[in-house]
Each structure stands twice: as structure tokens, then as C-alpha cells.
């Protein structure tokens, strides 16, 4: 029996609507920072902060079963650190889900403790990490951490997904004119990025060089933003390191491809009195190297982290307002608010990807722009046009 297509589409949309609302049903299923039940504001805050930070294992949630044991659902990820004894690797399960520095792992002749998601190498006789007034560890040192953390795992997973999808899309053009299957969804998106973001901003001669980067960045940010909205607990684009990397990529690209006019406009701007030019040069340099990438960085990071915080706070309303509104009332309020905010977050996921890509294209376009030298500059740097000036006597 063939299901009519409309029914299938309706069911699909219904499923997707409820898939994006990841409210938890009851206390014992919620994943909590390290132990206690979520029934006070502090627990909620600790849980939210724990979600925002990176973790060394992939922990979906944890609960306390009837025998009083702590059960964790998830899998450990390898820890790869560069210590004073060289490269040390071990699985994060050795820490036994301990995050406050009390469990010590001995490997390679050194002792390691993990506190607040940071791994420290302890001195020989220390039993835990002690901090001085400025929050620096007094009896341990931080190491270079190259571990596969949850965010790295997320990047690798989504990268693999993107590789599979887009290589399939590209290969299909060898045998068909129109792609088949899921590639049909991706094709208009790719064309949109090329024709509405890359071409208008970069110009017809140079857009092909940079379209690859723009497509990558667009889909990377979008897919990772969406992954952050799932109940899996990813928070990749809300990590400042990830967004800093992306901003640095854009910075390198538009700095390395700047032509002479670009640098001319930054350092020695034509059409401006000579005495002002050094001042302008400083401002433009700061703008080109610091402010532009910094704004890209902060915009993405703050939007996504703030979004996560808001979503989780609204879901936690279920627990914090349990006493005043009753269980049903609090859950109902939380459900409605969470639904709305999740829809907004879906929009924000796409919008932030679009904005990042568009601004990158804009900056690249400014760097490779070729002024068509129709207007000439006279001695004072004023632009002299060929057209007759209508009110020439008034100038």
C-alpha cells in the first residue's frame, strides 16, 4: 500500500517539529553536572556552564540508579597531551568521570588530574591541584592539550558528514544533469551561496577562487549550529576557539589576497588630505587586522552561546518554578517557551552562518576589488569626472 506523499510530508514535518524540542520528562533522566539532582538554581547554573564548556568524554546523560550508583550513558574519548615527558595518550575513562581534581591518573611517570575540564600535570607529591589567589595552579602545570574532546569529535563527525554529502553531490554531475536524492536539497543551497553571496560581493573575475572557502564555512557553521540544538549536547560553534579559528581563516584569506589597491586604500588613502593619511592608516590597520576578525568571532560565539544558555534556562524553568507553579504548570510554561525559542534558534543557526559567510565575502571582495579607473584623480586627489557638471559654476 502506497502512503500518499502528503501524509508522509505531514508526518515528517510533525516529527521534525517535536524533534527540535528537547525537553526532559522527569528528574531522574536529566544529565547533571556531577551528581546531584537538579532542583536548585545553582545546580541549573552549574549544569548550563558544564554544557558550555568542552568535555573530554562524550557523555549524553548520567543518572543514579536504584542501587545508588552513578551511571553514565556515553563513551570516553582519547586524551592526547604533550607533557614534560613527551606525548602521552590515554582514554578519558581513567578519570572515571571525575571533574574536581581528586582522581589522579599516573601515566608515563607523571601524575595528571582533571579539574573543571582542564588537565594538569601534578608535582610528584601533590594529591590534588591547589590554586592560588589568581586561579593559577600552584602545584601543577598546564599542558598542551591535543585531546579529542567533545567539540573536536563534533567537528570530525560533521566534517565527515559534509564530506559524504558534498562529494556525492559533486560526483553526480558527471552522469546526470540534475542530482538525485538528498543532493537535491543541497544543490539550491550551493547555488545560493555562489550567486547571492560570492558573486555580488567578490565580483565576476575572482569569485571562483574563493567560493570553495565560502561554501565550506557556510555549511560548517550551519551544520554545527544545528548540531548544538540537538539533545546530543554538542556546543562547537559556542566555543571561542572554534570561532576564533574561522575568523583567523577569513583574516588570512583576505589579507593574503589583497591587491595593491587594497593596501593603498588602507595605508595611503587617495582622495584625502595628506596630513590625515597617517591617522587614517592607523585606524584602517586596526580595523583590517583586529576589529573585522574580532567582530566576526564575537558575533558567532556570543549568538550561539547566548542561544544555548537561553534554551537551557527556559527548559530548566521546569525545575526552578516547580514549587510556585506546580509540576504541570511549570512543565507547560517551559514547553511553550522552549518551543518558541527553539524555532528562533533554528533561524539564528542559519542566519549566523549566512552573516559570517556574507561578511567574509564582503571583506574578500574589498581586498580583491579592482577599481575601474574611469574616474581620474586630479592633483589634489579630487575625482574628476568626464561628464559635464550641470551646475559647474557653483562648484
Amino acid at each position: 500500500m502506497k502512503i500518499p506523499k502528503k501524509v508522509f510530508q505531514f508526518l515528517a514535518i510533525l516529527c521534525l517539529t517535536f524533534f527540535t524540542v528537547n525537553t526532559f520528562a522527569n528528574d531522574s533522566d536529566t544529565s547533571i553536572n556531577d551528581g546531584d539532582r537538579v532542583n536548585t538554581d545553582n545546580e541549573v547554573k552549574a549544569y548550563i556552564l558544564h554544557h558550555l564548556k568542552d568535555a573530554h568524554d562524550f557523555n549524553l546523560f548520567s543518572y543514579t540508579n536504584d542501587a545508588g550508583e552513578r551511571k553514565h550513558v556515553g563513551f570516553p574519548l582519547p586524551i592526547i597531551i604533550w607533557t614534560s615527558n613527551g606525548l602521552t595518550t590515554f582514554m578519558s575513562s581513567e578519570f572515571h568521570h571525575n571533574d574536581d581534581g581528586t582522581v589522579i591518573v599516573e601515566k608515563n611517570g607523571l601524575k595528571f588530574a582533571k579539574i573543571h575540564s582542564k588537565i594538569y600535570e601534578l608535582d610528584a607529591n601533590a594529591s590534588t591541584v591547589s590554586f592560588d589567589a589568581t586561579n593559577h595552579a600552584t602545584n601543577g602545570q598546564k599542558l598542551l592539550d591535543f585531546s579529542i574532546t567533545k567539540s573536536v569529535f563534533g567537528v570530525l563527525l560533521m566534517g565527515l558528514l559534509m564530506l559524504l554529502w558534498f562529494s556525492r553531490l559533486a560526483k553526480q554531475y558527471k552522469t546526470r544533469k540534475i542530482p538525485k536524492g538528498f543532493s537535491r536539497v543541497l544543490e539550491p543551497l550551493v547555488i545560493y551561496v555562489r550567486d547571492e553571496i560570492a558573486r555580488p560581493n567578490i565580483g565576476e573575475e575572482h569569485y571562483k577562487r574563493f567560493t570553495g572557502y565560502l561554501l565550506t564555512v557556510f555549511f560548517f557553521i550551519w551544520i554545527l549550529n544545528l548540531a548544538g540544538l540537538t539533545p546530543l549536547g554538542f556546543n562547537v560553534t559556542g566555543q571561542i576557539a572554534v570561532t576564533a579559528c574561522l575568523a583567523i581563516f577569513t583574516l588570512v584569506i583576505y589579507t593574503a589576497s589583497g591587491n595593491k589597491e587594497y593596501w593603498g586604500h588602507i595605508l595611503w588613502m587617495p582622495g584625502v588630505p595628506i596630513l590625515i593619511r597617517p591617522v587614517l592608516a592607523v585606524i584602517e590597520l586596526v580595523g583590517a587586522f583586529l576589529i573585522k576578525p574580532f567582530s566576526l568571532l564575537v558575533r558567532l560565539f556570543a549568538n550561539i552561546s547566548a542561544g544555548h544558555i537561553i534554551v537551557m534556562s527556559l527548559i530548566a524553568i521546569m525545575f526552578t518554578l516547580k514549587e510556585s507553579l506546580g509540576v504541570v504548570g511549570a512543565t507547560g510554561l517551559s514547553l511553550v517557551l522552549s518551543l518558541f525559542i527553539m524555532v528562533i534558534e533554528l533561524l539564528v543557526a542559519f542566519l549566523q552562518a549566512y552573516i559570517f559567510t556574507m561578511l567574509s565575502a564582503l571583506f574578500i571582495g574589498m581586498a580583491v576589488a579592482e577599481h575601474d579607473h574611469e574616474h581620474k584623480h586630479d592633483k589634489k586627489g579630487h575625482e574628476v569626472s568626464d561628464a559635464e557638471d550641470v551646475r559647474g559654476d557653483l562648484i
Partner: protein
């Protein structure tokens, strides 16, 4: 906390201005709805980025 309130006021005023001008533009020339909408969303996102960034830096 007062700072956060000021930031949100600033963002609100800015977005209100953009929205108002966009409405006017659409009213004057209904065929340009698509372009005006796109520009409006872009500017809104830039403003939100600024507001959020300021909120985060304050925290």
C-alpha cells in the same frame, strides 16, 4: 546589571529604527520586498552580534 539593560535598550532602539525604515521602504515600493527584507535581516544580525558581544564582554 544596569549596563545589560542599557545594552538591550540600545539594541532595541536600533532594531526599531531598522524595522521602521524597512517598513517605509516596503510601503513605498512593494516590488522590492525581497531586497529590503534581506538587507533588514543582515543589519539586524549585525546589531544583535554587537549587543550579544557587549553582553558577553560585560559578563
Amino acid at each position: 546589571m544596569i549596563g545589560a539593560g542599557l545594552i538591550v535598550i540600545g539594541a532595541g532602539i536600533g532594531l526599531g529604527q531598522i524595522g521602521g525604515k524597512a517598513m517605509e521602504g516596503i510601503a513605498r515600493q512593494p516590488e522590492a520586498v525581497g531586497k529590503i527584507q534581506t538587507a533588514m535581516i543582515i543589519i539586524a544580525a549585525l546589531l544583535e552580534g554587537l549587543a550579544f558581544g557587549a553582553l558577553f564582554l560585560g559578563k
